[in-house]
């Protein structure tokens, strides 16, 4: 019996963001935008959804008088990501 894939993660941009954040301790918004080739507006919306799900922490601060947004994956986010990958693998393995 296949488990449903997490709808929060099963989206191109949100999955890309989570895959970047799982590999690092924390990353700036600009780094995520560069690596995902997304627009600031779209990325902001998707980051907010990940934040609302409790998968990432978003820290807003100032650096050299400029606003800076830092994103960091949370423990529930790591668990969700690992579960999502395990489900994907079971789909591909049995499918």
């Amino acid at each position: 019996m296949f488990k449903d894939l997490d709808p929060i993660l099963h989206s191109q941009l949100r999955l890309a963001v989570m895959s970047l954040l799982i590999s690092v301790k924390e990353a700036e918004f600009t780094f995520l935008r560069e690596k995902t080739n997304s627009t600031a507006g779209n990325l902001s919306v998707q980051i907010q959804k990940l934040k609302d799900a409790g998968y990432i922490d978003v820290i807003k601060q100032f650096k050299d008088n400029y606003p800076q947004t830092i994103c960091r994956i949370t423990k529930p986010g790591i668990r969700a990501f690992e579960g999502y990958v395990a489900n994907l693998q079971s789909y591909l393995g049995k499918g």
């Binding site: 894939l5 099963h10 989206s11 191109q12 941009l13 999955l15 890309a16 895959s19 970047l20 799982i22 590999s23 690092v24 301790k25 924390e26 990353a27 700036e28 600009t30 780094f31 560069e34 690596k35 995902t36 080739n37 997304s38 627009t39 779209n42 650096k63 050299d64 990958v85 994907l88 693998q89 789909y91 591909l92 499918g95």
Partner: protein, 224 residues
């Protein structure tokens, strides 16, 4: 990825995850400035000390004080690099502690060596006075291997952890030179210390700096 979200297949999802993890890994680029600076300073110190011994002169100050002075630009470089970095990896923290531990070990080693000298030199002088010949054991001949032993550790670990072969080989070279210098005279010891500093730090630093510039240029080109 600015286009509307499309439904991902399972295979596409796994491919996307792998691609993004690789992109994240490729984003760490050390500027190499610190490695170049320390490689140059240790090489200069070792070669100047070698020339002092070979040509029989003495500078009015100990050339190794340069290493203390270099801490100031090192702190500045570290802070500047951290500020500029848009991403913080887990490795960064371990590397910071590793090199901080190395710095502390070096200063403790200098302290220990000076303490041994203070005890050994009067004994050696007394022996020379009583026997009419210099003591066969010369402690200064064994200082270089101790430092090369320490130089090898963080260099090797950094090279292995960051999968950066020039530093990994540089660390191994430090340990090879450590073994050799046990059996060589102080002049050869200093020459091998300079040689190790060039291959463990200066050359890897130059390679890192080149890679950093290339990565920065590639990033700039993609955002024109």
């Amino acid at each position: 990825m600015s286009q509307p979200e499309k439904e991902l297949t399972e295979k596409e999802s796994l491919d996307l995850i792998a691609m993004m993890i690789n992109k994240a890994k490729d984003s760490y680029h050390d500027t190499g400035i610190g490695a170049m600076m320390w490689g140059t300073i240790i090489t200069i110190c070792a070669l100047v000390r070698l020339s002092e011994i070979h040509f029989g002169y003495r500078l009015p100050f100990d050339i190794y004080w340069l290493t203390i002075l270099a801490i100031v630009p090192q702190v500045y470089i570290s802070i500047k690099e951290k500020k500029e970095r848009k991403v913080k990896s887990y490795d960064d923290i371990y590397m910071d502690y590793l090199w901080l531990g190395f710095g502390i070990s070096i200063f403790l080693m200098i302290f220990i060596i000076n303490a041994i000298f203070r005890v050994w030199e009067p004994v050696s002088a007394e022996y020379a006075q009583l026997s009419g010949q210099a003591a066969a054991f010369k402690f200064r001949e064994f200082i270089a291997p101790l430092f090369l032993l320490l130089y090898g550790m963080p260099t090797f670990v950094t090279g292995a952890a960051c999968k950066f072969k020039p530093m990994l080989w540089g660390g191994l070279l430090c340990w090879a030179c450590c073994l050799v210098t046990i059996f060589t005279t102080i002049k050869i010891d200093l020459l091998l210390t300079a040689f190790s500093a060039v291959f463990a730090w200066l050359i890897p630093g130059i390679i890192m700096e080149r890679d950093y510039r290339r990565a920065k240029k590639e990033l700039a080109d993609t955002h024109v």
